[in-house]
């Protein structure tokens, strides 16, 4: 056993865990401030400068709250469910690269925990087991509202996972690899979101459904289910659900950034400038590559995608449940199949004819066209239903 290697892994795991924990705290602050601004309010601004100490105050409050276990609850599962929700949201970050190789203390250190060949399938399997915590929380609470929330989340997450998996396929095809580092490096010239805009849009929508964010927050819909699956939870157990929700937001933003928005690579128009990740800087006679820009770019992209999620929450009302299911199965699934088909055809045409135009112009144009057809279709179907009911 190489102790230096073990130490390196330990340090990197701790960095990931603490980044996610700190990220969770400040994402709550970010969301409350941004939501407030979007709703013409001020938001939390009293604790510390700009309300920056608000997350700490919240944490203290939740720690000291009384924890209740409802009578008739299945105690063990009731206790385990928050943990089972939180763990997948942390371990999923293990395969996401946040930089390149750095030479430090005489060793080459890769700025990712694991570059496994099956990175994307790892992401898929972890997102697919993430549903258990919510379903079991709903079941173990011995409460009708919580049960309904759990059932809703099971059906919703299984349905939207299909579209999510198929958009993963588009990224695998474009990157010609299942390793996330290879996929990021393949986006040096063009982000996959530029080549396959429809795929990126479907991915973002499906991840919103996977993390139960508005407008897909059926499992916890306040007006109908009080708080859905976490109705019976209080104190630190509730805090764990809260933490899991925000950490899931962060990790799906990291996933979206990695798969479709160039990951830790610079913005595509900065490719050959000093701000590129590959650039060599010269400071007081020392030459070194600008590796520290990589986590910074990932951070900027994650903050942007988080803002997108908050914006969506502030803008759109919740789906009706039957429409949510119809949208997942009748719109998202066919569209994501079309995304896979269009991407594969484009790559095949590019290989056989040798013209990059098929990928850079053909695939985006056809996929946007297909997306517009879907929009018209959905619009017309809603329109007809409206006049039938009147």
């Amino acid at each position: 056993m190489d102790w230096a290697l073990a130490l390196e892994w330990l340090v990197k795991s701790l960095v990931i865990i603490f980044a996610l924990l700190g990220g969770f705290a400040y994402t709550t602050w970010y969301e409350r401030r941004a939501l407030a601004r979007l709703q013409v309010r001020v938001g939390p601004n009293r604790a510390g400068p700009f309300g920056l100490l608000q997350p700490i105050a919240d944490a203290l409050k939740l720690i000291f709250k009384e924890e209740l276990t409802p009578p008739g609850a299945f105690k063990l599962v009731f206790f385990l469910a928050p943990i089972m929700t939180l763990v997948p949201s942390i371990i999923i970050a293990a395969v996401i690269p946040w930089g390149r190789t750095v030479t430090m203390f005489g060793r080459e250190i890769n700025l990712y925990l694991a570059d496994v060949n099956v990175g994307i399938i790892y992401l898929m399997s972890v997102t697919s087991i993430a549903v258990y915590g919510i379903v079991l929380a709903g079941w173990a609470s011995n409460s009708k509202y919580a049960m309904l929330g759990g059932l809703r989340s099971a059906a919703q997450m299984v349905s939207y996972e299909l579209s999510l998996g198929l958009t993963f396929v588009a990224a695998i095809l474009l990157g010609n690899s299942m390793s996330l580092v290879d996929i990021v490096e393949a986006q040096t010239t063009y982000w996959f979101a530029l080549i396959q805009p429809l795929g990126a849009l479907i991915f973002l929508t499906a991840t919103l459904a996977e993390v139960n964010r508005a407008p897909f927050d059926m499992p916890e819909a306040e007006q109908e289910l009080t708080a859905g699956f976490h109705t019976e939870y209080s104190g630190m157990k509730f805090a764990l659900f809260f933490m899991a929700e925000y950490q899931k937001m962060i990790v799906v933003s990291m996933m979206a950034a990695t798969l479709f928005f160039g990951g830790y690579r610079e913005f595509w128009f900065l490719r050959d400038t000093l701000l590129s990740v590959d650039a060599t800087w010269l400071i007081s006679g020392h030459q070194f590559t600008a590796w520290f820009l990589a986590p910074l770019y990932l951070f900027i992209k994650v903050v942007g995608l988080l803002f997108l999620m908050i914006w969506v929450r502030a803008t759109w009302p919740r789906f009706r449940y039957d429409r949510l299911m119809a949208f997942g199965w009748k719109v998202m699934l066919p569209l994501s199949l079309a995304v896979v088909f269009i991407t594969a055809t484009g790559i095949l045409l590019e290989i056989t004819t040798g013209q990059v135009m098929w990928l850079t112009v053909g695939v985006p144009a056809v996929s946007i066209f297909v997306g517009l057809i879907a929009v018209v279709f959905v619009y017309r179907s809603l329109w007809r239903k409206y006049y039938e009911t009147v």
């Binding site: 697919s128 258990y132 099971a154």
Partner: protein, 172 residues
């Protein structure tokens, strides 16, 4: 005792324990959870054998999709509590058959041609990227016909399920 063998033994205990737990627990939800753990243990067996793709597919498909639907149905129907076993006599023949299978597998495992160590120790390291490519090429080249037949079978099953679940319209 190598670390691989140690891992194998621990995993074997976990998988047998969870399988027994699934069979013996009186609550259907606990049974389903034990089965999830068992599937996870089997996935780690695949990892030990140097097949991460199959391990991840196992977790995604079985633990992530199928077992969630199992749980969904159990919870929706509200049939968590399993009543005590009545009429155990009709299970004798399947039980004898299953026992014979277990005995056969124990015999195969302990017979000289296949010592235990080989299971936890694949003889050569597997290049997973290459292995996945080979798997895809085999499926879509040599075994194209069975693959397509399987997918048509699944399609027919899906259409059947949709037709069965469609509510009959009144007055038609």
């Amino acid at each position: 005792m190598t670390i691989d063998l140690f891992l194998f033994l621990v995993l074997a205990l976990v998988s047998i324990g969870t399988a027994l737990g699934m069979l013996l627990s009186r609550n259907a939800v606990y049974s389903a959870l034990f089965l999830v753990l068992n599937l996870g243990a089997v996935a780690i067996f695949f990892l030990l054998l140097g097949a991460p793709f199959i391990a991840m597919a196992q977790i995604t498909v079985y633990a992530g999709a199928i077992m969630v639907l199992f749980l969904f149905v159990i919870m929706l129907l509200g049939t968590e509590e399993i009543p005590g076993m009545q009429n155990w006599k009709k299970f004798i023949i399947p039980a004898v058959l299953a026992g014979a299978l277990i005995l056969e597998s124990i015999y195969l495992l302990t017979s000289a041609s296949r010592p235990l160590g080989l299971i936890a120790n694949p003889s050569e390291s597997v290049n997973t990227a290459q292995a996945m490519r080979d798997l895809g090429e085999l499926l879509f080249d040599q075994y194209l016909l069975p693959f397509e037949v399987t997918s048509i079978l699944l399609l027919v099953a899906m259409v059947g399920a949709i037709v069965l679940s469609k509510p009959e319209k009144a007055g038609k």
